[in-house]
Amino acid sequence: MNLPNEFKEAVFIAWAALRANKLRSALTTLGIVIGIVTVTLMGTAITGLNSAFKKSIAGIGADVLYIQRFGWFMGEQEWRASRNRRELTLQNVREIERLSEFAQAVSVESNGRGTVEFERRKAKGVWVAGNNEQSLEVRGLTLTAGRWLSPADVQSGRPVCVIGSYLAERFFPYGGAIGSKIKVNDSPYEVIGVLDKQGSFLDGSNLDNQCVIPITRFNDDFSRWPDLTIAVKVHDPAQMEDAKEELTGIMRKLRRVPPDKADDFAINQQDALVSFFNRVGGTIALVGLFITSLSLFVGGIGIMNIMFVSVAERTKEIGIRKAIGAKRRTILVQFLVEAATITFLAGLVGLLIAWPLTLVIDRFLAASMPWWLVAVALFVSIMTGVISGFIPAWRAARLDPVEALRAE
């Protein structure tokens, strides 16, 4: 075998051929460059979306079960059939705490939007959450200063609140939040704690623009019949299924569901969200990559075309090489390397263009270009060259030396 020598010679020839036809090479390359740029950008968007989702989903907690009136992913029919379900009650929360063996902590959560004021400063559209004393643990939150709601706060519905870091910075840029009186929807509250910074959720909403008050107060100030979510943190994440079964039993008993009727509540968990995202995200990724790879395909046709021209132009050269002892394989490798060199360079240029574009996109939408994506893009560009160059190279390799030498 003499492949290393022949390969080196092939790279040398490819380079010489590219330099001899600069404009033509550049134009041919352009198709592949565009293809690689679109495919790579699609790739960066997909990976960016994935990592943003993973970051957001972490806040939901893998070991938490959410007992709610409705499931997270319901079709229209299911929705219509279940819209008259009864609300969950605070009584349910206490019963679950008492009865469940798998539960490590039971949180109650109810959400709304409200206006928060401090002296002359005013923030509209703040996310106001009604929680209990165990929500801190279940929601996986941490405090920068002060304390969380105490059982007594919740029991007696004291007008106290814990605020997010964004609100704290806006209202108390010089500190001193703890103990201050603020107004939530015109009712006075005392700030008892400040949360650590959390960042933003998948949809871009600011998780630090929130204000937590006791669930009992929430009922009074926001809604008489709030839509409660009971979030149960399970001791051992390996026992999620058992815990789910146990909670289903407890809830059916509490809500007096007859044995022949289906559940009139839903137990949601992060898994469902992840699998939903994977399904939707996977489809988007597939369709997106397919559409963008069409441009790469068009570029590949351009390469094939130019390689046919190249073979036709260099018939004589092929004849000379064959006369001197080049085998079919040698000629095949020569033209494959030439095609792959063109597309490899195109891939490099494409990545050089895609990289700053990714940084720009990342300012509006999550996007990132990890190393493996760079490697994949270069591999794909080389393969495009090899595949689209194969038929022309094969034709060159099979030329009859006598005929080829006669060509001008």
């Binding site: 020598n5 010489a16 064959k322 001197i324 080049a326 079919r328 394989r329 040698t330």
Partner: protein, 241 residues
């Protein structure tokens, strides 16, 4: 034992509805170290014979033994190897690679033979020096005169130490003086034991050979020893190192 042994070689081409019989049964023995001219008018079949001798083509029937191996029934790749090892071509139109310098052109057969870089550089330099082009190694063909180009081609033909040097109208594109130069090169090669076959239609060129084979209508018309090979004027003056 002869270097080349050809028996009843035929080759025909089908062109549309017509069959052209280029060779109708040629038998020939060529010994090592011979200097032979193959002559004939165009259409006589001499090009076909040269292609077969050079292993560029295969016969329809007959046998061809080169250096003891039957090459008549070899496939493409095996023939490529035989061409690489046993045959050095010199063409009328030089057939150098335009984008490569002289050194790389001469190196090419060695690349295909799998000779490592350092060795093949040395051998290619030596071959170029042998034809008097030591100072032109990094010139491209378009920077060389016709005679120099043909000398590069001769260096390329010899670099692999082939059994035969096969030259097809080697002086056809050269003026008479430069043509003489190349022929004197052949004479010196012949004197040093190389086997040389020149295909030509010029009587002048053929007269330099020691044996002249004449082809007509696909058959050997005459095969005679040239009693007084013509010596080039330059042959005595210029000498190979």
């Amino acid at each position: 034992m002869s270097l080349i042994q050809i028996r009843d070689l035929t080759r025909h081409y089908v062109m549309g509805s017509e069959t052209i019989h280029a060779l109708r049964g040629v038998s020939l023995d060529i010994g090592k170290g011979e200097y032979i001219a193959i002559m004939g008018p165009s259409g006589s079949g001499k090009s076909t014979l040269m292609n077969l001798l050079g292993c560029l083509d295969t016969p329809n029937s007959g046998s061809y033994e080169l250096n003891g191996t039957n090459v008549a029934e070899m496939d493409d790749n095996a023939l490529a190897e035989v061409r690489n090892r046993e045959i050095g071509f010199v063409f009328q139109s030089f057939n150098l690679l335009a984008r490569s310098d002289a050194l790389h052109n001469v190196e090419l057969p060695l690349i295909y033979a799998g000779v490592p870089l350092a060795d093949r550089r040395d051998q290619a330099r030596q071959a170029l020096a042998n034809v008097g082009l030591a100072d032109r190694m990094h010139h491209r063909p378009n920077e060389l005169s016709g005679g120099q180009r043909q000398r590069v081609a001769v260096a390329r033909a010899l670099v692999n130490n082939p059994s035969i040097v096969l030259a097809d109208e080697p002086t056809g594109n050269l003026d008479s003086r430069t043509g003489e130069e190349i022929l004197s090169l052949f004479e010196q090669l012949s004197r040093r034991g190389n086997t040389i076959i020149v295909v030509t239609h010029e009587e002048d060129v053929a007269q330099h050979a020691r044996r002249i084979i004449r082809i007509r209508d696909g058959l050997i018309a005459a095969d005679e020893v040239n009693p007084h090979p013509r010596a080039t004027r330059l042959a005595e003056a210029a000498s190979l190192p």
